[in-house]
């Protein structure tokens, strides 16, 4: 055997070993199921496939937690995980599931809107596979995710993505971006089918308001805000004004020409009033140090701070960082403020809830609002 062939053979064997050993970690992550403990407000647990049968058994047959009040009223559809790398959205939804109590009206909560995307991290992204939230009983472990649907669930991509039904062209990667695939369609891709199921839920229950939890880069102009189309604008503006005592927040209009986003299509294709909330997540920015779990959860970064000193950031950013309790707390308080404004706007369709808010989270951390799945009644634990 010549030296050349030997070198090739060795490289091939080494690479194969790396793929097998490294791949096992990826496999374990893809199949890790997060426990969620049903809180006092949960009255039913459904799945998206209950609204669109073909999703059954797929990676995107996400859990829908239903919290019904004793009194009938308005209905809200609240979801995180459209972009599974924006973890505050998923956590805020889970905190609601484990803690919220509904007095009047109904909440439909989906923590993993694009569940498939949460079963893999971004190739070349260098992400951690999991993040852990410390609690009094130990830590709760969650899947870190990618921005888009996992290619094992939806592949190949076309060379250009043409949005349904508008026909607008977008980059090919956006065909797996849940927040470019609204309103979805029944015979489309997995991502489109998932959004279609959510639209069916919204239409079937005559949902009044839809809230989509996101996180954004600090270098991105659209952060610390509520994005709303013109039909939702007055509610969003009033909510933002009320919240501005607590933290920096503003409203952004949903551009009519930019299609496929939840804040545009949900409103155009149903009677619901859509809102999308952005909070700042330093982990997502390009100019940061290593993409570690602590950057994800504490949101402190020296390189990004220097970018802030140069005026390149759209939010204030200092040594205190943007910790996860701040981001989750913002989502919760903003949601409650939107519900309050909804109640003023539509008094006969009240939605009244009790849930932890921004100050509760800032004082006690996210862990204080997560329950222990090991000591909970097993019938009250859902694996998602």
């Amino acid at each position: 055997m010549s030296r050349h062939v030997l070198a090739k053979l060795t490289t091939a064997i080494v690479m194969l070993a790396v793929l097998i050993i490294g791949g096992q970690e990826l496999y374990a992550h893809r199949h890790y199921e997060e426990p969620v403990v049903l809180g006092p407000g949960v009255t039913r647990v459904e799945r998206l496939s209950d609204y669109f049968e073909p999703l059954r058994g797929t990676m995107n047959d996400s859990v829908v937690y239903v919290l019904e009040g004793e009194e009938e009223g308005g209905k809200a559809f609240i979801f995180g995980g459209s972009h599974p790398g924006e973890v505050a959205g998923t956590l805020a939804a889970i905190v609601l599931v484990e803690n919220a109590v509904v007095r009047q009206g109904t909440l439909y909560i989906v923590p993993h809107m694009n569940r498939s995307g949460s079963t893999g991290t971004q190739p070349s992204g260098g992400y951690p596979l999991y993040y852990h939230i410390d609690t009094a009983f130990g830590s709760r472990k969650f899947r870190m995710g990618d921005r888009v649907t996992h290619p094992l669930d939806q592949w190949p991509d076309p060379d250009v993505y043409i949005h349904y039904p508008s026909g607008q062209s977008l980059s090919y990667v956006e065909i797996r971006n849940s927040n470019r695939c609204w309103p979805g369609r029944p015979n489309g891709t997995l991502t489109e089918q998932t959004n279609y199921a959510a639209m069916e839920l919204i239409r079937k229950h005559d949902v009044n308001i839809a809230v989509d939890f996101h996180e954004a880069e600090l270098m991105y102009p659209v952060t610390n805000c509520i994005v709303a189309p013109s039909k939702s604008a007055s509610i969003a503006t009033m909510a933002a004004i009320n919240l501005s005592i607590d933290f920096d927040i503003h409203t952004e209009p949903s551009p009519p020409g930019y299609r496929g986003l939840s804040h545009r299509e949900i409103g155009d294709h149903s009677d619901a009033y859509p809102f999308l909330i952005e909070v700042p997540e330093p982990f997502l920015d390009q100019p940061t140090g290593p993409k570690t779990e602590s950057l994800l959860l504490e949101g402190k970064d020296e390189i990004l701070m220097r970018a802030g000193d140069k005026g390149l950031l759209f939010v204030e950013f200092d040594e205190s960082g943007k910790p996860i309790e701040l981001r989750v707390g913002r989502h919760l308080s903003t949601t409650m403020s939107l519900l309050e404004e909804w109640n003023n706007f539509s008094p006969d369709l009240q939605i009244s809830i009790e849930a932890p808010d921004y100050y509760d989270l800032m004082d006690n951390g996210v862990g204080a609002f997560l329950r222990d799945p090991d000591t909970a009644d097993p019938s009250m634990v859902v694996f998602d």
């Binding site: 690479m15 791949g23 062209s169 390189i303």
Partner: protein, 428 residues
Amino acid sequence: MFLKVSLILAAMVAAYVIANGPLKLSVELAMVFAAIVGAVASGNWLPLRHIAEGSSTYLDLALIFFTATLFMNVIKASGGLDLVVRGILSRFGDKRAVALILLMFVMLIPGALTGAGSVSVLVSGGAVAMALTYLGVSKDRITAMIFLLAGLAAVAPPVSVWAMLTCAGTAIPYVGFELPLGIPVLILGTFTVMWLGLRPTESMGDEAMALPEVGPEVSGWRTALPFVVVFSLIVASRVWPHSMPILGLPLIFLVGAIVAYALNFRKIDFFKLSSETVSQLLPLLATVISIGIVIQLMTLTGVRGLISYAVIAMPLWLVFTLLPITIPVSEGILGFGGAAVIGIPLIWMLNSVGLHPTVALSGLSLLWCLGDALPPTAIIGRLTCQTVGFEDNYSTFLKTCAVPWLAITVVGTLMVIFSRELSFLVRA
């Protein structure tokens, strides 16, 4: 953190120099080696999961490279290319400028449709090179022309890969790019073919005379049909995007290869041809896989973030002055990763100082396409040399590119600086 990440970067550079020099590793292995050294230096030990994950980043691109080359190799083996060259030359051989413009479109169309300059090189490069040889253009000029046109093809609308990748990362809609991308591509493409091809530099015609006779079994329709099939599938997915199943470019090219194989009457050993195609593409495939690993490890260690910061933290005049260097070099080092690492923060930065993102991004795209000829990766540059059979020194090829390169650089940079003034090009 700054110091630590800077030291890791220094360790990576040193490791690369040692691996590529005394250790005599190939560029690809040296890059991976350097990235692993960086990961170890940052305390991540041997991050096997990251290496495995990073290696899958450009899987789709690798599949397109393979299937498109296989497709062209079948056509070539069946004598179809000879026929195409004869066709172009017999009709327009005496009208040099017209022939050059036609050849330019033959080069631009595949890349414009797919967003991949490599597809232009692989699909049209061989035939166009032969035609240019017949027109008396020397090999270094042919190589330069094919590379530059392939780059412009990737920039050209409707699918412009850098603009789309940056749009995806910045949430700027990919709309209104037709004119800001299309007009400069046509002007610069015409300039390139005229500058490099209008004056014959070799004696004309000899090579074409030496072409193997095109036998009666190689007919026009038999050569054209596989191309028609490939382009119809691409166009059909645009016209009926919601009723056509998504085939993806790899499958489309594979279908084209099978059609070409089924139609040709010459005996082709499909298996042998496939394995030859893999050997031919091995360096390129190794590059795209290595870049994925390298970018992942650079992100893991914070080096990617540091580089990205360095680019946007400069004063605006310096950013503008250095654009002709930073943008192509980022592409040369990171492949398409350059659009993510530098493009996204840069566009946000330019947007925040009031420039027009669509026009600025179009200008940047022109600069990015040049980087595909730059080492260490030099993806399209090397692919072009391979396809054309240019075996001279690589720097000779780069020197031949100089004048059109400069023209593209000037236009691209000015488009960024004057993007606000040029915003009339963007139709809402």
